[in-house]
Assembly symmetry: C2
């Protein structure tokens, strides 16, 4: 009959994940509910559970999908420090592309390959740069920590101190409350060029890593 002539595209885990991502980016992570996703797909709520065991697993799928979209391939002859920079910037790019999903992606610990591929690439770069196993992991974890903090700030999960002292009243309050340095730096604290801050800290880290002793320096 006619309902068969307009078959909706089959309900699928992939379509559900896509709808969830769209919903998060459009209306925020806390607006995501199974009902909202079902409505978006024009489908009953419980039909989702035929393809996804739980909301938590669905969010795992969101993280996996987003993480899988990063481009991690390095230019062949690139210096290892530039490879590190490139991998960090690749991470930043996806975070900016899916800003409101960033916290979701970062808080899910996934064992799936899409989560391990960036780890593999980073460790490869560091070991080829001449860092022994133990040191490579230390460096890796330090960089990850910086990345996590930077990106969570940039997407607004964590405060940036940015729009605070826009008005002079807050500034007066600051100096009156015994915060002279904050008052003095208010114009600088009021702005936050995320790209510049990211590069500043990244350069700081890369230079520090470069100064570390290596077992077998190459290139």
């Amino acid at each position: 009959m006619s309902p068969m002539d307009v078959p909706r595209p089959a309900l699928t885990r992939d379509r559900i994940v896509s709808a969830a991502i769209g919903l998060i980016e459009r209306r925020g992570a806390e607006a995501v509910s199974m009902r909202a996703i079902a409505a978006e797909l024009g489908v009953g709520v419980m039909s989702l559970y035929n393809h996804v065991p739980s909301k938590s697993a669905l969010l795992d799928g969101v993280a996996e999908r987003i993480l899988g979209g990063v481009e991690f391939e390095a230019a062949p002859g690139e210096h290892w420090t530039d490879q590190v920079r490139g991998q960090c910037r690749a991470f930043r790019q996806i975070a900016l592309h899916y800003p409101r999903s960033t916290l979701v992606v970062m808080t899910r610990q996934l064992r799936a390959p899409s989560g391990l591929r960036p780890v593999e690439r980073a460790l490869a770069t560091l070991r080829e740069a001449g860092f022994a196993g133990e040191t490579a992991v230390h460096v890796f974890r330090a960089v990850i920590a910086y990345l996590t903090g930077s990106l969570l700030r940039e997407v607004g999960v964590t405060p940036a101190l940015a729009p605070a002292p826009r008005d002079p009243a807050a500034l007066e309050d600051a100096v009156a409350a015994g915060f002279p340095h904050i008052a003095a730096l208010a114009p600088v604290l009021g702005r936050c060029d995320h790209a510049a801050e990211f590069e500043f800290g990244l350069e700081l880290l890369v230079r520090a890593i470069e100064a570390l002793p290596r077992d077998a320096a190459q290139v």
Copy 2:
């Protein structure tokens, strides 16, 4: 009458905040509900709203209380690099003292003085070390990013890659899936001494900051 002879301690914003912190630490942040807090205090749910305008404001209070408990005073003659280290470690101490509240504290942007005091102390240290305003803020933000990422990992909000390859099967999977470096480093990746990792990255950052040009070096 007799109900007056056993007067419950007056319901108070402070007591509500304390109950919330206790609940978060005992049963996790997602177990916090107005009903659970009220039950903990032996009180009706809606009575809470006489002292707290909303759950969000209550969580602000939690963040404020915890942040206010940090000890930021520096030893007088201390070198500025040791002051930086000390302030970072102070932050880590509260994070470890309230592990399950850490995400709540970090994701709330508060304008209250208790949130600004650590900022003021950090900026004072950096400016006294001879960093001009702009640079001081850049350095401050880089350190904050590292702190955020480190502590969120340590309290378990963000994955640590730690207990993954406990069993040899996962390791075999890793090498089979084309992750040779992960496989090779599995024993190192399997452990994560958070204190050591924290100090490693902190040292990396402090040395890098020390190498930065300063307008007026002192001490």
